[in-house]
């Protein structure tokens, strides 16, 4: 008789304890969305013109055309600005032949040939051509042509890269009892891939003046035996860079959760 009675009272006690604990919870997890303000105030613009880029690194991917195409399509989907659909500027050619001054002088009798992208191995190699971004007369003229948009230009450096060293990877092993297990294995590996560096320059199409610039970098390495095409690697790296590019122009929301305390 006493046995069951004790059991019932213990159950009741634990129920009371659980209910009490639930009622007196002293913290609550809550989802939040942190808005990250755009770095640039673009409220004065209705249009954006992704003009063109100085491209270097490899001849396998046309960094200028591919970057323009990709950024335009992303902005069409994720920005309120109207994207100007015009021919991609051959920026290297413009930089080589003197920008606005060169154009004002008319077609040169002996125009300088633009160098191949593969002749640019680092940021330093592109420096002699960066004067084009500060050529306010040139950009103002471009701005007038496309109804004073926000102009985006810059340089793209997509370079092959290889690295060798110890790499940790996970390997599936089957033990003597036939059970599968995953074990970390360290091994020497030669890997190759690409580095993508991009400098984005934002120009006010009304004045031709530079508003903002930022440089982003991503790299990816693959096993020596993987024959990952350069274009596919370029898109993988751009996937990482694009959200950061977009955060310059529009507010992004970062989702997470925090704990509220009583």
């Amino acid at each position: 008789m006493t046995g069951p009675r004790i059991r019932i009272s213990l159950k009741l006690l634990s129920l009371v304890f659980v209910a009490g604990a639930a009622g007196c919870a002293s913290f609550y997890e809550i989802p939040i969305e942190t808005p990250i303000a755009a770095k640039l105030d673009v409220s004065a613009f209705q249009r954006v013109f992704i003009a063109g880029f100085l491209a270097g690194g490899t001849d396998d991917v046309d960094g200028n055309v591919e970057t323009v195409r990709l950024l335009r399509s992303q902005l069409r989907m994720k920005s309120n600005l109207r994207v100007v659909d015009a021919d991609v500027l051959p920026l290297m050619d413009v930089a080589v032949n003197g920008g606005a001054q060169g154009q004002a002088a008319g077609p040169a009798a002996d125009p300088r040939e633009e160098p191949k992208p593969s002749s640019f191995k680092s940021e330093k190699d592109l420096e002699p051509y960066e004067h084009i971004f500060a050529d306010a007369d040139y950009w103002k003229k471009i701005g007038e042509e496309y109804q004073n948009p926000l102009i985006v230009t810059g340089w793209v450096l997509f370079t092959p890269h290889s690295q060798s060293g110890m790499v940790q990877r996970e390997q599936e092993v089957i033990d003597p009892l036939g059970r599968r297990r995953v074990e970390p294995v360290r091994e020497y590996m030669e890997r190759k891939g690409f580095i993508l560096q991009e400098k984005f320059v934002f120009i006010d199409g009304r004045s031709g003046a530079q508003m903002h610039s930022e440089t982003l970098r991503e790299e990816r390495l693959y096993n020596q035996n993987d024959n990952t095409p350069a274009l596919s690697s370029y898109f993988e790296l751009m996937d990482e860079i694009i959200p950061r590019f977009l955060s310059t122009l529009s507010t992004q929301r970062v989702r997470g959760s925090r704990v509220l305390i009583k």
């Binding site: 609550y28 942190t34 930022e214 440089t215 982003l216 970062v254 925090r258 305390i261």
Partner: protein, 120 residues
């Protein structure tokens, strides 16, 4: 005379203790109300309540923590950072506040130090 002074000192201690307890009770009411409205998505009201709580009881770490979370949700990152720091100063070993602050710093650092960027 000595007896009277002793009595007065005792009275002051008891009264200040009671006032502190009252402040904490009032602040706690504001904090709980703030949690209830924040859970319904009314973050501005929650901010008002938690700001009140910190005014009533400036030593209430939970109020500063919650206020920081609300500021974060509203994108007021500088204010959020200050409120988290205040909460941690009051309760340096509070793991929940510390965890919130670490997550906040991740976002904050991303916005401030994200790559090299410059505006002329």
């Amino acid at each position: 005379m000595r007896k009277h002074m002793l009595m007065a000192a005792l009275l002051v201690t008891v009264l200040s203790g009671a006032a502190y307890a009252d402040a904490r009770t009032d602040a706690k009411e504001q904090v709980e109300f703030g949690i209830a409205v924040a859970q319904r998505g009314l973050w501005k009201e929650a901010i008002y309540r938690w700001e009140r709580a910190t005014q009533i009881d400036p030593n209430y770490a939970a109020a500063f923590n919650n206020l920081a979370v609300a500021y974060e949700h509203e994108g007021l990152l500088e204010k959020a950072g200050e409120a988290y720091e205040r909460a941690l100063k009051l309760e340096p070993n509070n793991a929940m506040v510390r965890q919130n602050f670490e997550l906040f710093k991740e976002i904050h650092d991303r916005t401030t130090n994200q790559n090299q960027s410059q505006t002329p």
